[in-house]
């Protein structure tokens, strides 16, 4: 595991911290998480990895939906085994969710509010404010079944922070959203993260780049990287090249190097790829982005050069 020096910013808040020590998770014979060690402080925390890397498993363990097989986890000082206490201070938005289709937006919030133990007054004062925050106040009388994918996601966030949890766990929240909605959704999460820990899992690098300061990269159940986005990018500095090549040369280049992006320009192609040193004359070194850095990180896992 590559570990960058941890920035303390955002973790100073006393007891707003998630500590995961030597977490191993098994599904029968299969090991979904391998010796995961993480400390997560206040602010946005991104969990990046391919589909099936173990992100959802980790989030479910934190949300008390799965019992941990081995290791220690505490959320704001409370061991994860105390499910009732953990539940009252965490909010969770699963990857796939919906609500009773015949309920209105307000009713669904009210119902979940009762399940969170909120009094009538608390629900009355909090729900309209939250719906405004997620831009659903005007739709409060709409039935859940009439909501679009993006609206449903926003309602999902509102329900997850209804009881003002210290920790918000969001699993792949931008999947299926259009680009505009995705940006709005990220901004919303950033706003929410000002007061609490927000853990966001995604396989979309762009989501993390725009919002998270601290990230962890999971691969086949193992933490491959834990640190800041800037440090991850720094790791790939000087290893990213750009060149304009002919289409014919493209397949040759792809065999040798990892191409992180390309742009067709008539008969030529502008490629961006990873290399340890200058590969050929016409290639020039460019500044690394998170996506490049992620690909660079994953390269080692693929057993490539």
């Amino acid at each position: 595991m590559i570990r960058a020096s941890k920035t303390e910013k955002g973790c100073g808040y006393m007891n707003t911290e998630i500590k995961i020590r030597h977490l191993n998770q098994f599904y029968g014979q299969k090991q979904a998480l391998k010796d995961v060690d993480l400390t997560i402080g206040r602010g946005m925390f991104g969990l990046l990895g391919r589909n099936g890397a173990g992100k959802t498993t980790l989030m479910k363990v934190l949300a008390t939906l799965l019992p941990k097989s081995e290791g220690k986890i505490s959320i704001c000082g409370v061991p994860v085994e105390s499910a009732a206490r953990i539940r009252s201070m965490t909010g969770y938005l699963p990857q796939e969710f919906s609500m009773y289709p015949n309920m209105t937006v307000y009713e669904a919030m009210d119902y979940l509010g009762v399940l969170s133990g909120l009094s009538r007054e608390e629900r009355k004062s909090r729900i309209p404010g939250l719906l405004r925050k997620v831009n659903l106040l005007d739709d409060r009388k709409k039935k859940v079944k009439a909501l679009s994918g993006g609206m449903k996601r926003r309602l999902g966030i509102a329900q997850a922070i209804l009881h003002n949890p210290k920790v918000l766990i969001v699993d792949e929240p931008t999947a299926g959203l259009d680009p505009e909605e995705r940006v709005r959704f990220r901004n919303l999460l950033c706003e929410i993260a000002e007061e609490r820990i927000v853990i966001l899992s995604t396989h979309i690098v762009g989501d993390i780049e725009a919002t998270c300061e601290q990230i962890a990269v999971l691969n086949e159940g193992e933490i491959l990287y834990h640190g800041s986005v800037a440090e991850l990018t720094a790791m790939a500095q000087g290893k990213v090249y750009s060149a304009e090549i002919s289409r014919k040369e493209l397949s040759e280049l792809k065999k040798k190097y990892i191409v992180t992006s390309m742009l067709t320009l008539g008969n030529n192609v502008m490629v961006r790829f990873l290399a340890d040193r200058t590969p050929f004359e016409s290639a020039h070194s460019v500044e690394a982005g998170v996506e490049d850095a992620y690909m660079y990180l994953m390269r080692g896992e693929r057993g490539e050069e």
Partner: protein, 413 residues
């Protein structure tokens, strides 16, 4: 506080569900078709054409009527049986017929078909309304015990479910009531049953059939709604305890089903009030409510609990199948005791008459034990549901996941 708010919300959800209104409609249709035209039978008047029929307890009459029936069926060589509630004609082979003939001769002293045909002609050509079957006198000195034993042998030959089985013998002894009999029944109804008791039992008899199955549909759809709406995880991670979630749902189901039951009971109650005021007799206004809670509530509780526990356990509609089978078996196995008084431990105790107060009164302890048993069973099932739900929301018991995972792996293979 949280519990009652949840309960109110569950009731609201129930009222808005299609399955609830289907339940109410089926219950109402059943009520109006079976009991809608209920009329209070007035005081018998001397010289009435008939006073109805009753089952006799007299061993001599039981023997006579049973033997009359046996002689008739022996003569036709075809026997009616109801092995699982449905009619089945049984034609025994030569040897079996000969043995039945032996038994008939031993008990009634006849076996010649010609003689039996004459007896039948005599009985059925009397003119007037023939309410009861033919009676044949048993031979002198035949003890009731020996008679029972031989009849059971006939039942065994026929494969069971015939009118000759030990607990069915009484149902052969249907006799016409005399004015005195009718008067006695009426007096019992007014004095001991306060008029409404008898009608409340009849109400419970019919409604009990439907309430032993309908609540399971409500429970299963409620349980499956979370999964269908993809809301299981949103609920699982909330602070509310498993007990608060499950019990509020269960209680809402039971209460919402009892409401239409009590509303429907107002029809025979109104009819009783009308009759009582006309006849100037006092009546028990609360009988329908008392009987509904004592008799019907345990059925509703059990059917709902079976649905709830199996849905939470398996995330499937298995509850409907299980309750359906149990209901079917219960209905048919309690048919022999339809007249009331033979409640046993059957899930659907029957009492398909306004009369037979003595049957009810003498077996009240059995009925009370029966109903208590089912109430206790349903409470135990709800407790089990809470336990299962608490485990499942922590991911410690994923039966549905395992089923679908198996399916997937088989599919791949």
């Amino acid at each position: 506080m949280m519990f009652w708010t949840l309960f109110a919300k569950e009731c609201r959800q129930t009222v808005r569900s299609l399955i609830y209104w289907l339940t109410v409609i089926i219950l109402s249709l059943f009520f109006f078709s079976q009991l809608g035209d209920i009329e209070i039978t007035g005081k018998p008047v001397k010289g009435q054409e008939d006073y109805g029929v009753k089952y006799s307890d007299d061993e001599q009459i039981i023997m006579e009527n049973t033997l009359g029936r046996l002689a008739e069926e022996y003569c036709r060589e075809t026997y009616s049986t109801y092995p699982i509630g449905f009619h089945k004609s049984v034609k025994p082979d030569k040897d079996e017929n000969r043995r039945i003939g032996d038994i008939l001769e031993e008990t009634a002293g006849i076996r010649d078909r010609k003689v039996i045909e004459d007896l039948m002609a005599e009985h059925y050509n009397k003119g007037g309304v023939i309410m009861t079957g033919m009676a044949v006198r048993p031979v002198k000195g035949l003890s009731y015990e020996h008679f029972q034993k031989l009849m059971q042998e006939v039942d065994d030959i026929l494969g069971g479910g015939s009118s000759y089985a030990k607990d069915m013998l009484k149902s052969n002894a249907m006799v016409a009531m005399t004015y005195e009999d009718a008067m006695e029944e009426y007096d019992t109804l007014i004095e001991k049953d306060w008029l409404t008791g008898g009608y409340a039992r009849l109400f419970c008899d019919y409604m009990g059939i439907m309430l032993a199955i309908l609540p399971v549909f409500l429970a299963v759809t409620r349980g499956l709604r979370d999964r269908r709406a993809k809301m299981q995880e949103l609920i699982a991670v909330r602070k509310a305890s498993a007990a608060a979630i499950i019990v509020s749902r269960y209680l809402a189901m039971v209460v919402m089903i009892m409401v239409p039951v009590l509303v429907l009971s107002c029809f025979p109650l109104a009819e009783s009030i009308r009759y009582a005021s006309e006849a100037g007799i006092s009546m028990d206004y609360l009988a329908f409510a008392k009987y509904s809670f004592g008799w019907l509530l345990p059925s509703v509780m059990t059917a709902a609990a079976v649905g709830l526990v199996l849905t939470v356990l398996t995330d499937t509609a298995l509850g409907v199948l299980v309750q359906g089978i149990w209901w079917f078996i219960s209905i048919f196995s309690s048919m022999s005791g339809m007249g009331g008084g033979m409640y046993g431990w059957n899930f659907v105790p029957r009492h398909n008459t306004v009369g037979n107060y003595s049957g009810f009164h003498n077996n009240f302890a059995q009925l009370a034990a029966n109903r208590t048993l089912y109430a206790v069973i349903s409470v135990a099932l709800v407790a089990a549901t809470i336990w299962i739900y608490a485990k499942k929301r922590r991911g410690k018991m994923d039966i549905h996941g395992k089923i679908s995972a198996n399916r997937k792996s088989k599919y791949k293979a």
